[in-house]
Symmetry: C2
Subunit: 335 residues, 2 copies
């Protein structure tokens, strides 16, 4: 019924226009907008009606200017984000928006200059806090240099050593994968790890060696890919291996294809476990057994942590989140 756009005036309505129409002072309008308790219901309604009639929108630039707060949270991700980080970034974005913040995402290469440029971008936008997703340890120093007083949360970059980081428990994930294979009777299990510069790749490779030894098994020589399916396809799996634990699903896809082309049946002769659980992984041939991580929980956790800091409290970051194992057709009892 009432017009959202009353007509093409010169410039958008301001608080004073609303105040005039509602017959109150601009101060009262401000109180309504920031829902202060000391406004009578009737007055509040009159103001809200005026706001609706004029199609008034508060000018966030003016607000930010005077309060010194942008209500924006910066999200810094890796330049070459693959599935895990990408999902995490998305999750942080959603969580930030739900918490009433404006998420500003940007990406940066892993070198010092790239990181500085990325943070610079966010700082120029006057973000109130930063979430760093899946970056190299060096990022910590860079951030502390450039913005020593800004609240920061690190996501997925380790097992949660620093008290400002939120992480999925990588070791637990690796344990699920390996103990599944071991339970199926496999003893010669090879690991395909991700690239050197990635903390997750390091953690998973390290956990692989530890857990193998823990079970009295000898770790096999490491293979390394770059997270892509192609890099997995180009790898030569040890002929002795009957189990392969691959650090992500894309590389696992490539590994499986290559194995099959070499005449080694999956899961008949070799069992393969991935990591991440892509949307499509269940429909690979065979369906891929993999480890699922709850990215959205991580995102929410990070935003909650920062929101808490911004409102003065300093909550302890929650304990690492537990991944789960999805058993599908790419793994079978050792024959």
């Amino acid at each position: 019924m009432d017009a959202t756009v009353p007509g093409g005036e010169g410039r958008p309505p301001s608080m004073h226009d609303v105040a005039r129409l509602a017959g109150v002072s601009h101060q009262t309008v401000s109180r309504v907008l920031n829902d202060s308790p000391s406004v009578r219901t009737e007055t509040r309604e009159r103001v809200e009606a005026a706001i609706a009639e004029l199609g008034y929108r508060r000018n966030l630039a003016a607000r930010a200017l005077v309060t010194g707060r942008s209500h924006a949270i910066g999200v810094l991700g890796p330049y070459d984000a693959d599935y895990g980080p990408m999902r995490t970034i998305q999750a942080v974005e959603v969580a930030a928006r739900e918490a009433g913040f404006l998420p500003l995402m940007t990406t940066a290469t892993r070198d010092r200059e790239g990181l500085q440029a990325g943070i610079d971008f966010l700082l120029a936008r006057a973000v109130d806090a930063i979430v760093v997703v899946a970056q190299h340890p060096i990022i910590g120093k860079v951030v502390d240099e450039m913005a020593p007083d800004l609240p920061v949360a690190y996501v997925l970059t380790g097992k949660g050593g620093r008290n400002r980081s939120i992480a999925i428990d990588q070791e637990a994930g690796v344990r699920l994968a390996l103990e599944h294979l071991i339970g199926l009777g496999h003893t010669r299990i090879q690991h395909v790890r991700g690239p050197d510069e990635y903390a997750e790749a390091d953690l998973r490779a390290q956990a692989y060696a530890e857990i193998m030894r823990e079970h009295g098994l000898e770790p096999m020589p490491l293979l390394q890919g770059d997270w892509s399916a192609e890099s997995g396809y180009n790898l030569e799996i040890d002929p002795e291996a009957t189990g392969v634990f691959v650090a992500n699903d894309q590389m696992a896809l490539g590994v499986v294809k290559r194995l099959c082309e070499q005449g080694r049946d999956v899961p008949g002769e070799v069992s393969v476990v991935g990591f991440d659980d892509l949307e499509e992984s269940a429909f690979f041939r065979p369906g891929l057994t993999t480890v699922r991580q709850d990215f959205s929980a991580v995102g929410q956790s990070a935003v909650k942590f920062l929101a808490g800091q911004l409102s003065g409290v300093r909550p302890a970051p929650p304990t690492p989140l537990e991944p789960t194992l999805l058993v599908r057709a790419s793994t079978a009892q050792r024959v």
Copy 2:
């Protein structure tokens, strides 16, 4: 050598601080920042030195307040973005940033209320323009109602009928896929389309029927999925079909899996063509023949269109972009 952060003062330096240090007026600093020609080189250098020494950053909120421009471009995508739109959104984001804009992304459901909420979000952030990615035709009306004067570009929502839309030529893509199958001797070709509410799904289905008839072939009954691999897996391909053209790669993955489980060899008995070219598609088993679209070209094109409008000119949007066919192992000569 010089400190990026000179020390933890109360609040960040302003133009006046820079001006004082450089011995000029704040206006001159402003001119240097906006590189106006009427500043002597020597003065400019002095100002720049002061900026560097203080680690000064211009306050974008203040700038936006006085100019009425945020230098932000809103990107409105579908709530349930699948691969194509997601890549497009990303491409727009990158292009916007490269062009010096701040991309603000948000998603919206396809109903009127969802769209209004999405646009409202962007309008509240005072975006200078909007890119709409892959949305229902109704969006055009909603945008025109809510922001009649805002420059808008529509991406991927049609074959470019409106003069404000940038699209990949869907018909050309479908033609590549179908003529490839026809060239291999297939005549009974079925189409798996996407959901009703998607313009791309409609366009591809329509093109399928037209091109089939154009070649004297009878279109087969349409099958419909929801873009997911699972929905493809749940479909029953006509036993008579020897070729299947699927509207995206995920569904194709499901279709192939199902066919194989039914004992119908791909590509021995049935050839399958997808659409989109996921990173992983080459490593499916068999490698998927598919149609690739150049998303980043679309993104750049959209941003260029809007940037032009914002600086006064009104450039004609470029002609639809041509997709390409990638022939892999999922298609073969009809036996």
